[in-house]
Symmetry: C2
Subunit: 475 residues, 2 copies
């Protein structure tokens, strides 16, 4: 059995770092509230200007925190923000911090207890769309670098620090890979630190070692050229709502595995060691179900819940619609129906291959007389970081000191553009995230735990020094 | 092989009836346009006052046409209109004409070329919601009775004429059976003439001998208590949209027969003779598909298209919804999903039994963790009229004279409350309908063919005289 990277390391905190973070925590929260008021919903064209405003706001915040270079980078879609703060030590490693400033859609009537874009502090929690995903986790870095400088007495960071915060993550990062390729010289680094993930729980700090990829698509089906009377024609012509249902129902087999032929091609299966490591985590199904707001665990046969969400590829129906939706009934065969599907992929799967498999599968399922289209939106690649990488050991040590306990390891079921950074920049990816499952990402009443926001800043402050001290890349 | 009722009868028109109908046709169309401007959408509570206005308008129109007794009958839902015109011959048969004054929902953006509630005449067609279903077919009776009186020189109709026009047919007639039971003495009759069906085509007059019944329901499914992140939780908890899809997909088996156990219990199967009669009709699949605005015929194996829509019970997905419906994607496991289903039943099936079968089937399909409810709206019973009934022979003769050709026989795939009338009043049901398949019932651009509206009036005028002459019920 492998030893965890942090075993044997000290978990003693740094008093100077902590003091600085605690002193400036109220100011950080106040700044975050300002940012959360900007509804930077990237997937809704009506909010395009808000996403631009969000980028400009962040650029000013980074400038205020001391970054000598701050730039807003336009893309074919929404803008990214880039900042750079070189170390006075030319041999120091270069770190690129990644996050995103766009958010998921949110509306009060979805079930929010307060306005999603009017942040509200209740107790030790800050509620608002983007509080945890991802504005809070981007913004703690502005305090982290200040605490690092204050505690070390340095004028510049101990590492060459770069920051890239994109504006299209919630829309599938359609232009991110291009941006990284075009700006590869400015973004070149030795390690990427992604702050867009969570940890096990408020009392169980963990480091994530991988994320799943994402393939999203919309399937449109057309039957009759208009809604037709179900009494006069029903039962004698194909019904696109029925066919949409057949597709959605056929996504999974009786064992709840994905039934699209070829979907699993290339999947890196879990090793017995990884399964044992996952099993060490204090998983309690009832509290997990509570965080999932769900009433039963159900998924692919032969795998635990954690394995299902972290290490297994999945298919999900995000939306289905067709026919009459109003009050009462309407006896029609509807003209059209639509599915919004997403597939989570794991290391070894190719998004292109999954897309081809889906296209072929859909075409094969439909009867003559039902026309269809399959439209893919941006894809995200999966990634995994080796447990024994020195930079990962630095992160585990720093987080252990901030939390005063040894950290464990997880993966992230969600998806982010980390793999694009890893592939294009040739740098390993670390995940420094302090969000917890109850934060409600993509859901009503999204929040961030304010004490954990401070731990994030503390971890970052410790990490820059630890990386500079223990790691000389390429040597 | 049986002979059709009209074989051997004359198909010579009555010049007086025709002259009167043609002279007053423009006035009938003008009146119909007034009525069509009232959006009497019974299933939408926002239109409740319009349904009442529609009833009042009709009551005035019936009074104008000479009915000495006209009453608006309130119900637990929308009002019905009753009118009565006794014959001076006390031995004459009593006829109850049935129709409905409520309409399906309609909105310009559904694909209408003109405003659905602003009737427009283009050529020989009148476009507007309710033109054929059913306001046009109710209103031709006002001209029919006038033409009957003018041609025969009578002061009162040759039959005791009653009219009942309900206001909730498109909402499943939830209060109709109760109304008929409560008012059975006023409604007592020897035969019911339902004018809410169609005929084969403009050049192929037919008499319908039966209608299918209808059972409608809404299935609501709830999974997580709120939308949750599909990356963090997807693949490990049940998804109500997937389960809704499974239900909808499981409604039919591989042979496209309804797969709900017990659904077919009691079904009166087609006889070989009925199948031969259906096969005599000049059915052209391509033009039928055109009228269905569909691109393929598909249905229960072992039956022709006409058999599927007229004589076989079916299940249809009228609407399906769940999860994200907006632009782009949203990576969630949705909190809920909904199905709107309808089942067409045939003679021998019990609506109550079908409902029980559906309730049990839904409950058995769903995994633990997905809660559900099944809500039924009003049901409609199926009915069939024997081919050799003397009143049906009168109708076939009258229609043959109006169209100057022998009529054939069909059934109607749609549903109406005719069976309630048949059961409660103990009277056989005749179907006098002049709508054609291209009229677009329940669809955008509903219309009625103006020449056929006149044929309807002519048939009614001839029918009252023929019934009085050839039929003495109970003797």
């Amino acid at each position: 059995m492998s030893t965890t990277p942090a075993s044997g390391d000290s978990v003693v905190p740094d008093p100077s770092v902590r003091a600085h973070v605690e002193a400036h925590r109220p100011a950080l929260v106040e700044e975050l509230c300002h940012w959360l008021r900007i509804p930077s919903v990237s997937m809704d064209p009506a909010h395009a200007e808000d996403v631009t405003r969000s980028a400009e706001w962040l650029a000013e915040a980074l400038t205020r925190s001391g970054f000598p270079t701050v730039e807003v980078w336009s893309t074919a879609g929404h803008p990214s923000v880039f900042a750079e703060w070189p170390s006075d030590d030319p041999q120091a490693p270069t770190v690129l911090v990644y996050g995103h400033h766009d958010v998921q859609p949110a509306a009060r009537e979805d079930g929010w207890d307060s306005e999603p874009f009017e942040p509200e502090i209740r107790g030790e929690r800050l509620y608002g769309r983007g509080a945890a995903d991802d504005k809070g986790q981007v913004l703690f870095h502005t305090l982290g670098v200040r605490a690092h400088l204050a505690a070390t007495g340095r004028d510049t960071p101990a590492v060459h620090l770069k920051v890239l915060v994109e504006g299209e993550e919630e829309a599938g990062s359609p232009n991110f890979a291009d941006l990284v390729r075009e700006r590869a010289d400015r973004l070149s680094c030795d390690v990427v630190v992604v702050s867009d993930t969570g940890m096990w729980g408020p009392d169980t700090p963990t480091v994530c070692t991988g994320m799943r990829g994402l393939v999203e698509c919309q399937v449109d089906l057309w039957g009759p050229d208009q809604d037709i009377h179900s009494g006069s024609f029903g039962g004698a012509v194909p019904n696109p709502a029925t066919e949409a249902a057949r597709l959605a129902a056929g996504l999974h087999g009786p064992d709840r595995a994905v039934a699209v032929p070829g979907f699993y091609e290339g999947v890196v299966e879990l090793t017995e060691e990884e399964r044992r490591l996952f099993a060490r985590l204090p998983f309690d199904e009832l509290s997990w179900l509570e965080s999932a707001h769900s009433h039963a665990a159900l998924g692919e046969e032969g795998y635990s819940t954690l394995e299902r969400i972290w290490a297994r590829p999945t298919a999900e129906v995000n939306g289905i619609s067709g026919g009459y939706q109003g009050p009462g009934g309407k006896t029609i065969v509807p003209a059209s129906a639509r599915l919004k599907l997403s597939f989570r992929t794991v290391a070894g799967q190719s998004a292109e291959h999954v897309q081809k498999a889906v296209v072929q599968w859909v075409a094969e399922q439909l009867p003559y007389g039902v026309r269809h289209s399959v439209t893919f939106s941006g894809t995200t690649r999966p990634c995994l970081t080796p447990l024994d990488h020195p930079a990962l050991r630095s992160l585990a040590r720093s987080m252990g000191r901030a939390f005063e306990q040894r950290v464990l390891f997880t993966r992230e079921g969600g998806s982010g553009p980390a793999a694009d950074l890893q592939d294009v920049l040739g740098a390993p990816v670390l995940f420094l995230g302090i969000s917890v499952p109850s934060d409600g990402w993509h859901a009503p009443n999204e929040k961030v735990e304010l004490p954990l926001l401070a731990k994030g800043a503390e971890t970052a402050a410790l990490l820059w020094e630890d990386l500079a001290r223990h790691w000389r890349p390429g040597t």
